[in-house]
């Protein structure tokens, strides 16, 4: 996956802790976008989603839930 056509872009994907939303977040991350992941999730699920989207290639990710808890991770 080397087509980084979304480098420099920032994306928000709602309902992205799992399912189609998480897959979209991964695809956008693989294309180079910074991705804000949002959805109903436990802290463990949020960490898992952050890891997956980062591993897919996103330079930076953040996770928020409807209760407004926020987690964050950047590539070193």
């Amino acid at each position: 996956m080397t087509n980084r056509h979304l480098e420099g872009r920032t994306a928000l994907v709602t309902g992205s802790a799992q399912g189609i939303g998480l897959s979209i977040a991964r695809a956008l991350g693989a294309a180079g976008a910074r991705v804000a992941v949002h959805g109903i999730a436990t802290a463990e699920q949020a960490e898992a989603a952050l890891s997956e989207v980062t591993a897919a290639g996103a330079p930076e990710v953040r996770f928020s839930t409807p209760t407004c808890a926020t987690f964050r991770r950047s590539r070193p």
């Binding site: 056509h5 920032t10 928000l12 709602t14 992205s16 399912g19 189609i20 979209i24 695809a27």
Partner: protein, 202 residues
């Protein structure tokens, strides 16, 4: 949420994907289910779009991808609130596309609004329906899935969520600047109202 991401961003790409489902006939469904499904599947997208699109328009670049459903194009029994919300999302997206079609330039990339309309896709949202069909047919999970596919997905193949992801990423590309106001099915050609597409003896 929009304001927070705009501050972190700016927000270039908005994907309204959050959605819920609860099947019941019109006679059996209650007002709370209607309210909840409309709120998550339609109203939430209305609110995110009306906040994000003016900022995208001001910058001359934006991509909104709304995850509707094949049930934003056709109907099935026992899905009144869900179908209403998804038809609504497709219609609202077309309005948004029109209002922002001329934003920006070829250089800046323009602002587009599109829907993706998945059919049967391997996610947890469909599990209650798989379980119900398996129970009704007296079969296992695979039999339940096969029955659902036979009814409304002529390819007889489930979609992988990653496939929806790839289309979403492609719609965000600069090359897609003139693709807007669309509702793109990923449904194995399933856009038909309730009918038995594959006879039992097939």
């Amino acid at each position: 949420m929009i304001e927070a991401v705009e501050a972190w961003g700016p927000l270039d790409i908005l994907v309204n994907n959050a959605g819920i489902q609860k099947t019941a006939s019109l006679a059996e469904v209650d007002a709370a289910t209607w309210d909840a499904i409309l709120a998550v599947n339609l109203s939430a997208a209305f609110h995110t779009m009306r906040m994000a699109l003016p900022m995208m328009g001001g910058r001359g670049f934006g991509r909104v991808v709304n995850i509707a459903s094949v049930h934003g194009l056709v109907a099935s029994r026992d899905k009144g609130p869900y179908v209403a919300s998804k038809f609504g999302l497709v219609g609202l997206s077309k309005v948004a596309a029109l209002e922002y079609a001329a934003s920006g330039s070829r250089t800046s990339g323009g602002v587009t609004v599109n829907c993706i309309c998945p059919g049967w896709t391997e996610t947890s949202l469909i599990e209650p329906q798989v379980d119900a069909r398996a129970a009704a047919t007296g079969g296992d999970r695979d039999a339940g899935i096969a029955s659902l596919l036979a009814e409304k997905q002529p390819s007889l193949r489930m979609s992988d969520p990653a496939e929806i992801g790839e289309l979403a990423a492609w719609l965000c590309a600069r090359a897609a600047h003139n693709i807007t106001g669309t509702a793109i099915p990923i449904d194995g050609d399933g856009r038909r109202n309730d009918s038995t597409l594959v006879k039992e003896e097939h």
